[in-house]
């Protein structure tokens, strides 16, 4: 578990994605089975262990340390598992194999748990103790998605990410057949029902680029601003996956219940009330919930708008051209009014389509999708067959208020910018952006921040309100967590307005009026 504890620590402190990937890949390459498999499961939420409560841990500690010293320590450290890992008094530092710790946490009965945990802590040094306690409390917090773990796996051998995603949901820790496959062995049999299939993605396009293509070779439909999902009913096994293969079904029991068909379909997850599709912010309220209350199910009902059929009534349609898949789709019965089909748009020229895109019938539409009629369904992001032509972003002119130093390639540069808008005669922070500018502009912004600093708080500086930034964003959500009451989606700096006086920056009321 020494290597595992080092891995957790490195991942926790390493901000850059590629650096995280390298650390994880090295660990997986160098660690023997079954420990690397259990580590992978721990990182991706695939380990089902007995959850150890904070109360149990606290109880262990007060038997061993003066209560007042414990309280002072906890107050200073701020994290219970970390406090205990640091306080625990032992001279031993055995390298206990991870699978032993996993076995302890999955096999020990409730009554024996305190003694077993104390016995394990007695054998471990501080950093292993922390890893063990994080495992026990099920709280890894290392900022690594299951998707990233699969990318690291793909870098280790021949199978690519799409191939790994396709079998991922049939595998269980410690994933021996997966590692064997990556090392050159046979592909694991897909035994599980309702597996995730790699999703077909599109590339961005604009009107100029479209001129190279013939409109009659394409169909178009609205790009709905929900969450792209894959919904499956495979012989009664129902699944809802995000486009990266995360199983999100537990947050959407109402939709799971409505999957009364036989097949694997590609569509958009939306909150829909009758014919009205709600804005993304409503859908966001449903995300990430382990349990959904009755009230939420009634007020924010989930629905599915189907784009495509991958497998239908036992037939794999992915090798057929889009028009043939669409013909099956148009005749399909989904057996629920929570599921409908995304309609095709009538157009003869790209200008026709431009006019539709400029005036969509609902706020929840974020552009149009353009798909070749003869395109077969392939996972990944092939260049060409499918395009997304997103609506133009919203923009506001905001004032730079705070800047924070970046990491990695931006070390030493103030590269994370908090900006604000006028509210009466005050500037209120409304968001944060850390891209959209060129390297040259970054140097100019960095110089501006250094020359106009008012106060420093660690890596953050407050800046004299002198510079207007044009901020582009995709949409707005009402937000209780933000002081201004709104949260921007995907904000980035689209222009630096060196020329514009601060007094002419936009007002918060302008922004609030944009909330649909």
């Amino acid at each position: 578990m020494r290597a595992f504890s080092t891995l957790l620590e490195r991942l926790a402190f390493t901000p850059a994605r590629n650096a995280k990937l390298r650390i994880l890949r090295h660990y997986l390459e160098q660690t023997p089975d079954p420990d690397r498999g259990f580590a992978l499961a721990a990182l991706t939420g695939g380990l089902k262990l007995r959850t150890v409560t904070p109360g149990l841990l606290r109880g262990l500690m007060v038997e061993r340390v003066d209560e007042q010293l414990f309280a002072l320590s906890y107050d200073f450290v701020g994290d219970l598992a970390e406090t205990i890992a640091l306080l625990w008094d032992t001279d031993r530092d055995e390298d206990v194999p991870l699978h032993q710790a996993v076995a302890l946490l999955s096999d020990t009965g409730k009554a024996g748990l305190p003694t077993a945990i104390a016995g394990m802590l007695d054998r471990l040094g501080a950093s292993q103790r922390l890893a063990f306690l994080k495992l026990a409390t099920g709280n890894m917090r290392i900022g690594l998605s299951a998707r990233m773990a699969r990318i690291a796996l793909a870098e280790m051998g021949d199978p690519d990410v799409a191939q790994i995603e396709e079998i991922w949901h049939g595998l269980t820790p410690p994933y021996q057949p997966l590692f064997d496959w990556i090392a050159g062995g046979p592909r694991p049999e897909q035994a599980a029902k309702a597996p995730f299939r790699p999703v077909m993605l599109s590339t961005p396009v604009d009107l100029d680029q479209l001129q190279a293509f013939r409109p009659e070779d394409y169909v178009a439909e609205w790009k709905w601003d929900g969450i792209r999902v894959q919904a499956i009913n495979d012989g009664g096994v129902r699944r809802l996956y995000s486009r990266t293969g995360e199983d999100i079904g537990t947050s959407f029991p109402d939709l799971i219940e409505a999957l009364n068909f036989d097949g694997t379909v590609d569509g958009e997850l939306l909150v829909r009330r009758g014919d009205d599709v709600a804005v993304f912010g409503d859908l966001q309220k449903r995300l990430g919930r382990k349990q959904v209350g009755r009230g939420m199910l009634d007020s924010h009902p989930a629905s599915l708008r189907v784009y495509d059929l991958m497998i239908w009534q036992g037939r794999d349609l992915r090798d057929l051209p889009l028009t043939q898949r669409r013909a099956v789709l148009d005749g399909a019965d989904f057996g629920s009014d929570r599921i409908d089909v995304s309609p095709l748009l009538p157009f003869a020229t790209w200008d026709d389509l431009a006019a539709l895109r400029a005036d969509p019938p609902a706020a929840v539409i974020e552009g149009v999708m353009i798909k070749r009629r003869d395109s077969v369904y392939v996972g990944g992001r092939p260049r060409g067959p499918w395009f997304k032509w997103k609506r133009d972003p919203h923009v506001v002119d905001a004032v730079l208020l705070y800047a924070q130093r970046g990491h990695g390639k931006r070390s030493g540069f103030y590269s994370d910018f908090t900006f604000g808008l006028w509210d009466a005669d005050q500037l209120v922070p409304v968001g944060k952006a850390y891209f959209g500018f060129t390297d040259e502009e970054l140097r100019e912004l960095d110089r501006f921040v250094r020359n106009n600093t008012i106060e420093r708080f660690g890596p953050v500086r407050s800046v004299a309100p002198k510079l207007v930034l044009e901020v582009a964003f995709e949409g707005l959500n009402a937000s209780g967590r933000h002081k201004a009451g709104v949260a921007m989606r995907f904000p980035r700096i689209s222009r630096i307005r060196w020329d514009k006086p601060v007094a002419e920056a936009d007002h918060l009321s302008t922004l609030k009026a944009m909330i649909a």
Partner: protein, 330 residues
């Protein structure tokens, strides 16, 4: 004479009436005794300064040779007013000392300054000095602070340098003491190529070499192109544009505070190294147990934790609540 008539806190620092001197005063005073060269303990502008020869030389490097009206190197027991004072190694940085104050009538007081009991190649080892009253810091005065073997921390640094060979590793370390210790630890760990140092470290590193501490090949980290993977700089340099010359650096920091993850995260540190020049919890409690003073005074730091421990052990203790001293600089 009662103990608090021999030494007591004042706004300028700890004052000794029978000797008419201050220890590590934070304001200019007529006569100062100084434990070590860190800026919060050793300030310029005093009338007379007594310190170890090395501390005096370090002060001259930092403030210029006219940093005090007159200076006296502490060598053996010396009479100051109605007291005898002596300086003893503290194990903190080069030249660091504890100051023992023996009044003609009354208890013997040892002011330990900042001290450390881990082996340190740039400092003479801490020497226990028997006393009635032991004055201690409590920078890391909580039981969560158990500084690991620095060799293990260097192993982590070397592993990161091997895992990311294309990325320079910039390690923040206080310019006096910590930086040179870090260089020596790197040498002991087998890094024998050039190590780059920020300009602010140059003169202090030169001085260590003059004092017989072989820091190995050092190159300036001020050039446009820095020819070393390991770069050491004072913490303040990380907020400056100096960092921008490095492409995708790994930022590390060597400090006892790196024990606590939230502290490391606040600083944006990617590679926290727990290396400290201060006593940790096991050391400070062991020192008090060994010295068995009749009373403990606590100068600065996490005094609540150490006060509680003294209470549990039945040792009379009181906080002096001295202001103006940094905990281990962050």
């Amino acid at each position: 004479m009662r103990a608090d008539q021999i030494l007591h806190p004042t706004p300028a620092g700890l004052y000794c009436p029978p000797g008419d001197f201050y220890i590590d005063p934070i304001r200019p005073v007529p006569r100062a005794l100084i434990t070590h060269g860190h800026g919060d303990h050793a300030r310029s502008g005093h009338g007379a300064v007594m310190a170890t020869r090395q501390t005096l030389e370090i002060m001259a490097i930092r403030y210029g040779t006219d940093f005090a009206g007159q200076t006296q190197a502490a060598d053996g027991p010396l009479r100051v007013g109605d007291t005898t004072v002596s300086f003893h190694p503290a194990g903190h940085i080069l030249g660091s000392a504890q100051i023992a104050v023996q009044p003609d009538h009354g208890p013997r007081i040892v002011v330990s300054g900042d001290y450390c009991r881990h082996p340190n190649p740039v400092s003479a080892a801490y020497e226990p000095v028997a006393c009635d009253i032991f004055v201690t810091e409590a920078t890391f005065g909580l039981p969560v602070f158990k500084h690991p073997d620095p060799a293990g921390e260097m192993t982590r640094l070397i592993a990161s340098m091997a895992e990311f060979p294309e990325r320079p590793h910039l390690i923040g370390a206080y310019a006096l003491g910590k930086a040179q210790r870090l260089i020596m630890l790197a040498r002991q760990a087998g890094i024998d190529g050039p190590i780059a140092i920020h300009g602010a470290l140059q003169r202090l590193c030169d001085y260590h070499v003059e004092q017989g501490i072989d820091l190995g090949p050092l190159v300036p980290a001020t050039a446009k192109q820095v020819e070393a993977q390991l770069v050491i700089a004072p913490p303040s340099a990380f907020a400056s544009a100096w960092v921008q010359r490095f492409r995708d650096p790994v930022i590390g920091f060597a400090s006892g505070w790196m024990t606590v993850r939230a502290r490391a995260r606040q600083r944006g540190v990617e590679l926290p190294l727990v290396i400290s020049d201060h006593v940790d919890w096991p050391q400070v409690t062991r020192t008090i147990t060994e010295l068995a003073p009749s009373e403990v005074w606590i100068t600065h730091g996490a005094e609540d934790g150490l006060m509680r421990w003294c209470e549990l052990e039945g040792i009379p203790a009181r906080p002096l609540r001295l202001v103006g001293y940094e905990d281990e600089p962050e």
